[in-house]
């Protein structure tokens, strides 16, 4: 279906990534956010707080991130599309409720504008060091989806995608911005509402008698009901059966947890988005995401000027990881170069997927700034000289 024009600020704007993310949420149909202030993410909800009463909705600033990360889930079960926004320390506090959303299959979006860590770290400076936390931060086995915008325009576009994926798969989607992308101001084009595709809630059409809250068929995603609809359904974070009732037996645990994984993994080709450039015939492929992909671009172009055959693979979807893509490339290239603003997170995934077919070079950075393109270039040159495995 098309976006509700009420929330769409159609036009050409000069806007930062945080504000573009807010506009993306409104365009996607989100009318509820709960948050707790934290640099460098707060501008997203500041704008939402100003905008949402004029389009019909609410923002509430909660007492902490524990509250913020579950208030939005209450709103979802009442029928709203909802999200919260945070940065590293707050993201840590939200982990329990990412698990709750995964277990109860609550469609929602968690925006993390990444800053330097660990702990309070670098509140105003960039990092990309929450990437593994986004995937593995809550306890137990589950899958999430994580997207990595690299511009204010993508902060708008991909926030809509994040809400759409959340609804389609009934999964919490991590929107992994970074301080640079959040605070960078660029041109943002917001199309007309009828140009924006929005995925509606998978609300059941079954009768009260026929409805089982966690019954699934082909795509393994159950249909939802909302509080007040008359279905008298039960939702629990305990291991539950198709009725939504607690059933703490081995077969139910196995069936449920595998389904939570498989509903995402079965659709991995459809979910994963990458941007590719000159991959064919490349000796080295630079794998990057977020702000680092823009820094790496300069290094890639410099390397090409020096006659090196360098391809670019930008991860737009970080999770589920585009494993197949890396594996296929690994058979053709000498090496991968993975610059990121952490001491080695997504590079582990690249190395794992390459499975020894190609070498993997990390270009690590502890965060607080971005790479010097020279540092990436040096590693590209080194990687180009390595012998094929």
């Amino acid at each position: 279906m098309k976006a509700d024009p009420k929330g769409v600020l159609t036009g050409i704007h000069f806007m930062d990534g945080d504000h573009a993310c807010c506009e993306g949420a409104l365009a996607a149909g989100s009318r509820f956010a709960s948050g707790y202030p934290i640099t460098p993410s707060t501008e997203v909800v500041e704008r939402f707080a100003a905008r949402v009463p004029t389009v019909g909705g609410a923002f509430i600033q909660m007492e902490d991130e524990l509250a913020a990360s579950i208030t939005l889930q209450g709103a979802v079960w009442a029928g709203a599309k909802a999200f919260t926004v945070t940065s590293g320390p707050g993201f840590s506090l939200m982990m329990e409720h990412i698990g709750y959303a995964a277990m109860t299959e609550t469609p929602c979006v968690f925006v993390d504008v990444q800053r330097g860590g660990p702990s309070t770290g670098l509140p105003t400076l960039p990092a990309q060091a929450d990437m593994m936390q986004a995937r593995w931060g809550s306890h137990g086995d589950y899958e999430i989806i994580a997207l990595c915008p690299n511009s204010p325009q993508e902060c708008f576009d991909l926030t809509i995608t994040a809400f759409n994926l959340a609804e389609e798969f009934r999964v919490p989607v991590m929107f992994m911005m970074d301080e640079c992308v959040g605070h960078m101001t660029e041109k943002v084009v917001i199309p007309a509402a009828d140009q924006i595709e929005v995925v509606p809630r998978r609300h059941t059409r079954k009768s009260v008698e026929d409805y089982l809250p966690y019954e699934t068929n082909g795509d393994l995603v159950p249909e939802m009901a909302h509080a007040g609809d008359g279905y008298n359904f039960h939702v629990t974070g305990l291991t539950h059966d198709q009725r939504g009732y607690p059933d703490m037996t081995l077969p139910t645990q196995d069936k449920l947890v595998r389904r939570l994984q498989n509903k995402i993994l079965n659709a991995v080709d459809r979910i994963t988005m990458t941007e590719e450039e000159q991959i064919e015939g490349a000796d080295v492929v630079v794998v990057s995401y977020g702000i680092t992909s823009r820094v790496a671009q300069r290094a890639i172009e410099a390397a090409r000027k020096n006659g090196l055959r360098v391809g670019k693979l930008r991860l737009i979807t970080a999770w589920p990881f585009p494993e197949k893509k890396i594996r296929e490339l690994a058979a053709k290239v000498k090496a991968f170069v993975v610059p990121e603003l952490n001491l080695g997170q997504m590079v582990r995934e690249v190395e794992r997927a390459a499975a020894g077919q190609a070498k993997t070079f990390a270009v690590s950075h502890a965060g607080g700034g971005v790479h010097n393109p020279e540092d990436i270039l040096k590693v590209i040159v080194e990687a180009s000289r390595c012998r094929t495995v």
């Binding site: 909660m62 007492e63 509606p200 629990t236 009732y245």
Partner: protein, 293 residues
């Protein structure tokens, strides 16, 4: 009496329960089931539209209530029933949202949410079953455990002061505060019915026995002894200053309705503020339900 007559006999509270989930997990002598019975009777008495009701629990023995009532019911995470309920209520103000949880869940791990929801005066009905201990995990000290009693984590006796919950929530801003014990089943029902009619943050504390952990460890007898204690030592003092209703291990239990006052609730204040500041630009949505077509 004929067989058919016997077969026709239905417990009046049964329609409010998920009979397919019985037997429940609560111990013999536990008071939580008693409170659920009173709750169901309050639903009957108040003729509330069941479709509009949503019940939210946290974690713990009382946290399991959500799983046994035939309502839209949410068993959330430990301590976070109130913020979840806040989201439900804000996104759909037509819902009557009840939070049904225990003393440890609401006042320890969820203590921050308790005071802030009371401060904001979110229109929630909070039913706090206070069994004076963490029961689900095996009898550890709670913020409500009376001085000098023994628990598995204070084996030499509790030496930290306990919370007086009515005083806490009154100070934070609750508009309705009452306390009863599971001996007072009719009073509980009446208090719940009153709270259902009240707009704003309402809090009902129900002192409830835990024979398995609290009483056994403290040599306080069984469930019947608890009822005798509640009967003998409860003093009804409606309107009592909440500063005077603190609990001790074996002393008097002051019960009654302590607070019943008027104060605009969060959403009333929100709408007034938006209307004043934004005028015609304010778009008031009765519900924030997304399009499901």
């Amino acid at each position: 009496m004929s067989d058919s007559l016997i077969n026709d006999l239905v417990n009046p509270v049964e329609p409010f329960l998920r009979s397919d989930r019985i037997p429940h997990i609560w111990c013999p002598g536990c008071g939580i089931g008693t409170t659920v019975n009173s709750f169901a009777r309050a639903l009957i008495d108040s003729e509330i539209d069941l479709r509009s009701l949503a019940l939210v629990s946290g974690i713990g023995c009382t946290g399991r209530v959500a799983g046994y009532v035939k309502l839209d019911s949410f068993h959330t995470t430990h301590g976070r029933a109130i913020p979840f309920a806040t989201g439900l209520k804000l996104a759909n103000p037509k819902l009557n949202v009840i939070v049904y949880s225990g003393d440890g869940d609401l006042s320890a791990i969820g203590g921050n949410h308790l005071i802030h929801a009371a401060r904001r005066n979110i229109d929630l009905k909070v039913i706090c079953v206070n069994n004076l201990i963490y029961a689900m995990t095996g009898g550890q000290t709670a913020p409500t455990t009376p001085d000098h009693s023994t628990t598995s984590t204070n084996p030499y006796g509790v030496f930290e002061p306990s919370f007086n919950l009515p005083q806490l929530v009154e100070a934070a801003g609750a508009v309705y505060v009452a306390r009863w014990t599971t001996f007072h089943v009719r009073q509980i029902t009446r208090a719940m019915s009153e709270a259902f009619q009240k707009k704003g943050f309402s809090f009902i504390e129900i002192i409830s026995p835990c024979p398995t952990l609290y009483q056994r460890r403290n040599k306080m007898g069984d469930a019947l002894d608890a009822m005798k204690y509640y009967k003998e030592k409860s003093k009804v003092r409606n309107g009592a200053p909440t500063s005077e209703v603190g609990m001790t291990m074996t002393g008097e239990i002051i019960v009654g309705k302590f607070v019943d006052r008027e104060r605009p609730d969060y959403q009333t204040m929100m709408r007034a503020q938006y209307s004043e500041s934004l005028g015609e630009r304010y778009v008031e949505e009765p519900e924030m339900v997304c399009d499901c077509s």
